[in-house]
């Protein structure tokens, strides 16, 4: 029992340290718009838009892959809010995005 707990602790510490180092090595600046939009989408990950999950659709809109609205379960006011947000918030490159409703 004690051995098992100690073994898990040591293993967890080793793997955690490895991931911590990897996170430093592979660090990238995130585009905050993607995170915000994915929290505003319904979050069902239904795939009805043709992208892998809600985060996938949020990223497609931000990167310019999707230029029209494809989320069917989203409520109308939430949809207007997201389109408005994208129109008024410039990304790291200073550009805003227009999505056809």
């Amino acid at each position: 029992m004690v051995q098992a707990i100690l073994m898990m602790l040591v293993l967890g510490a080793i793997l955690g340290a490895g991931l911590g180092i990897a996170a430093k090595v592979f660090h990238v600046e995130p585009d905050t718009r993607v995170d915000y939009i994915s929290t505003q989408l319904p979050g069902y990950n239904c795939g009805g838009c043709g992208y892998p999950g809600c985060t996938g659709f949020a990223e497609a809109m931000v990167s310019g892959d999707a230029d029209s609205w494809k989320c069917k379960p989203c409520k109308a006011d939430q949809k207007a809010k997201i389109i408005d947000y994208l129109k008024n918030t410039p990304g790291p490159d200073g550009k805003t995005i227009t999505i056809k409703g």
Partner: protein, 192 residues
């Protein structure tokens, strides 16, 4: 010995295919097969995770768990290793290939719960494979997964332009195609 290993390789890639014969890993199979490029990326990510996880868990089991008589902890430790490796893969892809990272989306962290990965790690132990057999099985299974995922994505790209009855458009017809593929693959059973 060599012919036995080749037999095991063919079995794990084609005859006992992870998706079509064991019905494992169906979530990414349906989820990332819409585009050939995402299917290939997913296949490669799964190959990396399974080979790394297979090697690490095999070593961990025989070098740490068996000497300490903690064999019953295998499931917990294996999941810990797999989750860490998936995290590592995710960070690496985010840095090196943002396009692929984007196209995989939520299915990349979901490799953690991809049952093919855990299945390979557990079968390596429960079948009592030696190192050579473990290596062949660990490489063969994800290759079979990647192969079927890629073939399926090619078919689905064609399905997009095909004249499918309205009520079958999208996932329903894809599931039927998956069933037909499983029937075709079961026909390979006689080759060995």
């Amino acid at each position: 010995m060599i012919s036995e290993l080749i037999g095991l390789l063919i079995t794990s890639v084609l005859l006992n295919n992870a998706i079509l014969n064991q019905f494992l890993g169906l979530c990414p199979f349906m989820g990332v097969s819409r585009k050939k490029s995402s299917a290939l990326g997913m296949g490669m990510a799964v190959v990396f995770v399974i080979v790394a996880a297979g090697l690490v868990t095999y070593g961990l089991y025989y070098l740490v768990l068996v000497p300490l008589h903690l064999e019953y902890m295998d499931l917990v430790t294996f999941i810990l290793v797999i989750a860490s490796l998936v995290q590592l893969t995710e960070m690496f892809l985010k840095k090196s290939s943002p396009a692929l990272y984007k196209s995989l989306g939520v299915y990349l962290p979901l490799i953690t719960t991809n049952c093919v990965v855990l299945n390979v790690c557990l079968v390596n132990i429960s079948n009592g494979y030696d190192f050579a057999h473990m290596l062949v099985y660990t490489i063969g299974t994800p290759l079979g997964f990647a192969l079927v995922l890629y073939i399926f994505s090619c078919i689905r790209e064609r399905l997009d332009t095909a004249d499918v009855p309205a009520s079958f458009v999208g996932n329903p017809v894809a599931l039927i195609v998956a069933g037909l593929m499983a029937m075709a693959f079961s026909g390979l059973a006689g080759i060995i």
